[in-house]
């Protein structure tokens, strides 16, 4: 287990900058997720950590040891890939043994460790099967076992769940977290799936266009985004035209007093209020707030999304417990309100 540091790392592909002055610290034993849209540079950062690609500048440290120029084989890492990466010519057991054999671990020790890891992932009965005889979820669990059986200093997970169906994805996500905690492995997880990032991580790093915008615990990233890009990317946001004057904002027919953290600095004159669907309330139209008409209701199980078209033509989405909105119908006139502490202002 190691503390891992990427220090001012830059990587360019021709004229395109994939990473610029990227710095990240992964504390020992924690699971940090890099979250961002496709092409934001998160996989590039992971590959630089793995040694699979070289950075143009910057340093990589494992426990204050500079590993920037070490090849992947000498970095002592475990890695699980997005694509199924089990060696097709080997059984599941042989796949798991591979990393231990290349490290010259003694046979009895290999047997003990491999037996133990198969017990941990609960696939003892599939040890002698070839990859093509296993389901996608089983293959990724074997790949996880193969990566951690070598007791790596760093575990790298490159969107390992993206090829799986929803149910298997949820199960494996929990399993990754359980195993990561059990072995206390420093882990970097890369994904574009917000739910995945929020549920599995000790810290989430939000990336955009090769830069790391914010690294914080999931709740903090969600509730206190550092800027409007993070606010927009993480979770759903309503964007409602607003007028800002000093430290107050006029939105939804109300004037709300903002604290310093609620308004992101900007030179733009066009400002919008960013409000999460669960932070809007539906009230009778004779109350204060912006009046509108319900244009749709989507039932999502415990929650429902109410789509409201305001008189200003702006459409907002309100998330409420399904039971609490059972009296609402499409076309009904209602009003939408919020409170100051739930509003962020961006451009």
């Amino acid at each position: 287990m190691s503390r891992v540091i990427l220090e001012k790392v830059s990587k360019q592909y021709g004229k395109t900058s994939a990473l610029s002055d990227f710095s990240l610290e992964i504390p020992e034993g924690l699971l940090v997720t890099l979250l961002g849209p496709s092409g934001c540079g998160k996989t590039t950062a992971l590959k630089i950590l793995a040694g699979l690609i070289r950075a143009n500048s910057g340093k990589v440290y494992f426990d204050s040891i500079d590993v920037t120029n070490l090849p992947p084989a000498d970095r002592d890492i475990g890695m699980v890939f997005q694509a199924y990466s089990l060696f097709p010519n080997m059984t599941a057991r042989k796949n798991v043994e591979f990393g231990l054999e290349t490290r010259g671990v003694a046979r009895p020790e290999i047997k003990k460790r491999v037996d133990d890891i198969f017990e941990v992932i609960g696939l003892e009965e599939h040890q002698e099967k070839y990859p093509h005889q296993l389901s996608g979820g089983q293959q990724q669990r074997i790949a996880l076992a193969r990566a951690i059986v070598i007791r790596p200093r760093l575990l790298l997970l490159d969107e390992p769940l993206s090829a799986l169906d929803a149910q298997v994805r949820d199960q494996l996500r929990e399993e990754i977290r359980r195993v990561q905690r059990e072995f206390n492995i420093t882990t970097l997880f890369v994904t574009h799936d917000q739910e995945e990032a929020m549920s599995i991580s000790d810290r989430v790093g939000v990336m955009f266009r090769g830069a790391l915008l914010q690294v914080a615990p999931p709740q903090e990233v969600y509730q206190s985004p550092i800027n409007s890009t993070v606010a927009r990317f993480v979770g759903n946001m309503n964007e409602i035209p607003a007028i800002v004057s000093g430290n107050s904002v006029a939105v939804l027919g109300m004037t709300l007093r903002l604290d310093d953290k609620s308004s992101f600095s900007s030179n733009s004159k066009k400002r919008v209020a960013l409000i999460r669907p669960e932070d809007l309330e539906i009230v009778q139209p004779n109350h204060m707030g912006a009046v509108g008409k319900i244009s749709g209701i989507s039932f999502l199980g415990p929650l429902s999304i109410v789509e409201v078209e305001l008189t200003s033509r702006t459409v907002v989405r309100v998330a409420k417990p399904s039971q609490s909105i059972s009296h609402l119908v499409r076309g009904q006139q209602i009003a939408v309100v919020t409170t100051a502490e739930r509003v962020l202002v961006g451009d």
Binding site: A50, L52, P71, P72, A73, D74, R75, D76, I77, G78, M79, F81, A83, Y84, S85, F87, P88, N89, T91, F98, G99, T102, R103, Y130, H132, A143, R146, A147, I150, L156
Partner: protein, 259 residues
């Protein structure tokens, strides 16, 4: 459903039967021609006379040497090249594939003359120079066989996975890449051997006595011996195919259809 199923099974069996007859009838006819004596009995005389023909035996061993050399050169040339193409410059694959097709469109006489002019004098004096010509001639088949094997696996991911587990380059190549493209390599070997065993135009143009050219000459004086040897060659090729296929199945642990 049952009648439809019956029609489907009948059609399938009928197609297989026609396919079998397509191959079996000429072989049966050739066997009758080669091994039946004038009194209606069968005899292995054509085979024993072929084995007594020292020129034929010598040319067979020479051709096998050339086949071995061609296979070796083909694999040494193609495996690293195709691995490099897949791993480093996948965009160039289409161009290389086009290049490998050229032996199919350039007439053998043009290739033969060009080959003669381009070979160093020291190589022109030995029939083993044909190894270079046959390597080029086999490219359309050998390249495709190995390339499609590489295409069927995710070379980059497997390479990265093995490297991240501490394997050096040679370990990755010998334990991961080669075993996973073995089916394609075996197919290339088989196709190359088959091509060398049957290639006539080049050897004849360049005046070398290989098995096919000697067999053609022998056929002019003793047709039944030539036909008997052709049948034996065919059986030999089948045996090689079956052995390679069985070996490939065992090495991969999979059921692979054909080679």
């Amino acid at each position: 459903m049952a009648p439809l199923r019956m029609i489907s099974v009948t059609l399938r069996l009928g197609t297989i039967l026609i396919g079998l007859l397509f191959f079996a009838i000429p072989i049966y006819a050739s066997s009758i021609f080669a091994f039946r004596e004038s009194d209606g009995s069968f005899s292995a005389q054509p085979i024993s006379s072929a084995l007594e023909n020292h020129e034929l035996v010598r040319s067979f061993f020479l051709t096998m040497q050339i086949a071995f050399g061609t296979v070796l050169l083909t694999l040494l040339l193609l495996i690293p090249t195709i691995a490099y193409l897949h791993f480093v410059i996948p965009g160039a694959r289409a161009w290389v594939e086009f290049l490998t097709l050229t032996p199919l469109v350039i007439p053998p006489i043009v290739q033969g003359v060009g080959f003669l002019y381009s070979m160093p004098t020291s190589l022109k004096s030995t029939p083993h120079a044909l190894i270079f010509a046959y390597t080029v001639l086999a490219l359309p088949f050998s390249y495709r066989a190995i390339d499609s094997a590489f295409s069927s696996i995710d070379v980059r991911t497997l390479f990265n996975a093995a490297s991240s587990l501490g394997a050096n380059f040679m370990t990755v190549v010998s334990k991961i890449l080669i075993p996973n493209v073995a089916a394609g390599i075996f197919a290339a070997i088989f196709l190359t051997i088959a091509l060398v065993l049957g290639e006539f135009a080049y050897a004849s143009l360049l005046l070398w006595d290989t098995f096919p050219t000697v067999l053609a000459v022998a056929g002019m004086s003793n047709a039944s011996t030539a036909v008997a040897l052709s049948i034996l060659s065919l059986i030999g090729v089948w045996l090689i195919l079956s052995a390679l296929s069985a070996f490939n199945r065992r090495s991969r642990g999979l059921i692979v259809s054909g080679v």
